[in-house]
Symmetry: D2
Subunit: 338 residues, 4 copies
């Protein structure tokens, strides 16, 4: 796949929010050429009508199974990519899928959390660049992480994955707050302005589909987790952003400074992770591909509070997808993202 002068890229499912963000980034990317935007219910419409801020003038085309570009991004509702990806891979296309279809190795967990069967082998390289850079570089088809999963995994990985004589994680309790664009561009009463303005609402407590993805990535499973894990997702009245509070119980006390140092060193080569001295804010990361992390507290009893923030549409979706594409193409992973 490498060696293209300027590979062509198309997006299937381009008319949603992640698709629009992807269009924005790809249209300005210096080393790929944005070719086609495919949509379904919106086919025939123009980018200038749906997303005038894009300053891109293209028409959404219906997808008929013919794919001529070199690289394919898929931003489709869960279940749809499963049907399209096999043909794309057979045709030798580079594939980056943003849905949940190919994230879970365990088909049973997929059934339990997505309510859908999938083939046992329907799993692609889980493309979290900060953890699996090598695998991504060697892959031709990857599965882009979920938005909550990105913010939670990046906030936990140093303490859980770092091989060392350090403290062991016993339990993790996450509170995650998402902007409402995370629910996609859909007409639902409960996501209307009048229902969400001035409101906060928890949902899918301990049942969110990113749970098995997080646990799988951290080396354990949702069925038999090696540490306690509880995740409470919420939506709040903002369009973009994910903010997570990670309450981690270690089996011994580590001072904040030591944990901060561990995080700094873990992410030393990660251009989009910033370990900061102050609590993150959504406005600090909105419209960027950064994940800001702050080690806020460490109690004598081993309790630790880590806080992370990302833009769900960028680092939680389109930005990370392009970061993965850059790695797959052998480019600087930050190309077109700053």
């Amino acid at each position: 796949m490498r060696g293209y002068k300027q590979p062509t890229v198309s997006v299937i499912g381009a008319s949603g929010y992640s698709g629009a963000e992807l269009t924005k980034i790809l249209a300005r990317h210096p080393s790929v050429k944005l070719d086609k935007l495919y949509a379904f219910s919106q086919a025939g419409k123009k980018t200038t009508d749906l997303y005038p801020w894009l300053a891109v003038d293209m028409t959404y085309e219906a997808y008929d199974g013919e794919f001529d570009s070199d690289i394919c991004f898929l931003t489709l509702p869960h279940g749809e990519a499963l049907k399209l990806v096999p043909d794309l891979r057979n045709a030798g296309k580079m594939v980056i899928d943003l849905s949940g279809d190919f994230r879970l190795k365990n088909a049973e967990e997929h059934l339990r959390f997505y309510g859908r069967e999938k083939p046992d082998d329907a799993c692609m390289t889980y493309a979290m660049p900060e953890l699996f850079h090598e695998e991504i570089r060697n892959a031709t088809a990857v599965s882009n992480p979920g938005c909550y999963a990105t913010s939670i995994i990046l906030g936990l990985a140093p303490l859980i994955l770092k091989p060392q004589d350090s403290a062991k994680v016993n339990t993790v309790c996450c509170s995650g707050i998402s902007g409402i664009s995370g629910a996609g561009k859909t007409a639902k009463t409960e996501l209307s302005f009048s229902e969400m303005n001035d409101n906060i609402r928890a949902y899918k407590v301990a049942r969110h589909q990113h749970t098995p993805e997080i646990l799988q990535t951290l080396g354990t499973s949702a069925t038999e987790p090696s540490f306690g894990f509880t995740f409470t997702p919420m939506i709040a009245p903002l369009t973009r952003g994910i903010y997570t509070i990670l309450n981690i119980a270690l089996d011994k006390h580590l001072p904040v400074s030591e944990i901060t140092e561990l995080y700094r060193s873990f992410y030393i080569s990660a251009p989009f992770v910033r370990v900061r001295e102050m609590p993150p804010e959504i406005l600090h990361v909105a419209h960027t591909n950064f994940c800001d992390i702050h080690v806020a507290e460490s109690g004598k009893d081993g309790s630790v509070v880590v806080i992370t923030a990302i833009d769900n549409l960028v680092k939680g979706a389109a930005g990370q997808a392009v970061q993965n594409m850059n790695i797959m193409l052998g480019y600087d992973e930050a190309l077109g993202l700053t």
Copy 2:
């Protein structure tokens, strides 16, 4: 109708935003008894599930044409009240309709602005309490004004309706900004939080259905208006409230103080109109039945700027409806509204 010790009241179409506001006011009203809440798609659901803030425990019932209460409020989508009101009136019920069905005298204008035919005589007393107190007191069936119409008519009436040697209005240009609850509790992509947060959008410019209602009430018509009239409605990212800028061109200059005095004297007996020295704010009137009015500017060329603010769900709907009920029942018009 007068003489009831404590008349019973029911609401048909109670599960929408205006219905909920009406339920809140009627449930606390000292001199009526809230009897039944009728709904359609939401029949069978409970107030405690749909609107827990109501602190009212009732079940929405399906409406089968049987109406046992003394007074009927209808908060239905346009077109539905037309079907139900005749039977209710024949049965001797007191009727207060919050839709646009019975507002316009001119069936042609109704067709043009609502896109629906209606019988020529389908018109009830237009119940703007500050203008038609006597008629309302004598009526048994009234049509409650629209939200924009309320805020605009109250801001124009003193200059247009007051018989005097004063200046004549040549043209009126209105900009009206509405909170999004004005569009009702519906699932529409363009009213989702992600589409309206941080956004402003004009719509139905010079075509809004409140236009003929405003002109009819001010003594002229949409077809042959006696003064120029342009209305530009917008929605902005707030749930409640209507804010209107009224640019009025008079044929001669009147100082701000004189116009303010004219407004004060016009509304001297109106308990819910406040003529104020400062520009109104939505927060000043939210959750109240007040209409705040400010005469902001008067140019030497006869131009005048009047600004008004109301809560669209209260003075623009449910609150005004109860104010009308109070008048019809011979109660203090502010009963249960402060």
Copy 3:
């Protein structure tokens, strides 16, 4: 104190947000008479200018130490009530203080969390009606709980305080999200609209002054807690409301249904606590004195997720203060609050 036909009430510090909410409730309360509103920097101004939505016409007066009413509410910045309350109590006034000045029994903890010394005996009955009804009924001076403290204590009390053979709480991790009115009516850049719109920000992680108040009320202390306790407060872009996620680790598994039943029975006589089957929402409790509680999840490892929601200005401040006044006066505790 009991036996007053209609006692008179005044508020010192009435011009802030809690003061305005208090004014609203007291002005409509059927069995007390609102007498005076005292303010400091706003003395001389009128309620009709500062809070036109109140529909109350009074002038804020400067407080000169003379207090003629029967009952005194104080809504002052921390540290100020300490100076005024002794005289008020000596004069035989009934006192309800909404600040943090008299909440903590331990003067050292007060110094640590409020950064101010206070006399050892500067502590009044901690007036959480759902826990200390009897003490409040017998008190003439009470300290009204903090907003976060209210929402967290009510969410934990049944599991921690209920004497039974049941599971023991080992650790509690709270994430609390507050509306921005909780910070008061102050001019701070970081609380300006442009800084908080579309934003979320954690602050005072594990250092919030409500921590010792929560622990003291739950029978332990911030200095030597008998269970692990971590509290992460955040602000989000809404004006009113507190939403808390309580991650509780029990030493054994209890099913959700059993815990829910425990909560129901614990709050059986509490008119303002609603144990609900669905996650609470801020819009469900905004402008009400309710605390909604939902037992969301209980893992086999003993982990429990409880979610609570209140309006910070009502149940978290003014509403609860009036609830306490009602109890102190021997009234129905819900009087004037629904």
Copy 4:
């Protein structure tokens, strides 16, 4: 000035919102080199602390009068640029001032609207690129238009400035709604989140300082305007954006299609003005340098409604300033802006 390979640019007053937006654009601009950021109260702080989303790592320096770069942008409170610009011009620097200091030719009007005296000759080329491209190209010091002024002038210019046998403008009534960032990064109670969330507020009706700027640019004056002009500014709960409703009274009727065509042809060479078929939305232009314009209505009486939308921080400030710099340097005017 032209002929620089890559001129150096610095910003005086860089720590405010316009300064941050300018920093963002200049740091990514392909043909200038961002050199220094000067601030006053924020001197010594870092961009990574004040605006982490910038992804720029620089320190705000105190300005001591020494200016070494080729180009100077000034984003200072009104009155401050007056003191600094003469020295900068004497030193041969290219100057782009974003304040109101050098916009008005008439010192009396400046005094009346800004409350400050200024020298009669303190006026620089008024740099609205769509109107004065040639003058800007030849200038070495320009005054960047105000945000409201930009959105209003662009919406009126074709009808007022276009020499033709067409209709003459008699009066203009503007309603303008601004995002709150337009008020700058300041601590003011009335701009706090709690005061502006769910609120709309008019201010400075017919007294806004952009009025004389608009009239001067359209060929007349605030003192003796050749057409009626009334401007009502408002703020609404969004951070960015200006939305204006322009009610124009012509002396004869022109159909919408003809006016639209006039606008299209007037802006044929303007890369950042889009004449559109639908009402603009703030979300369509947010974070872009576009001005969207829609001719919404044209009545038989000669009334016309034109609606415009811009991002106040981009086309209304920093973006337009860079557009001007591009023109002054002989670059493509859109360089670094898309």
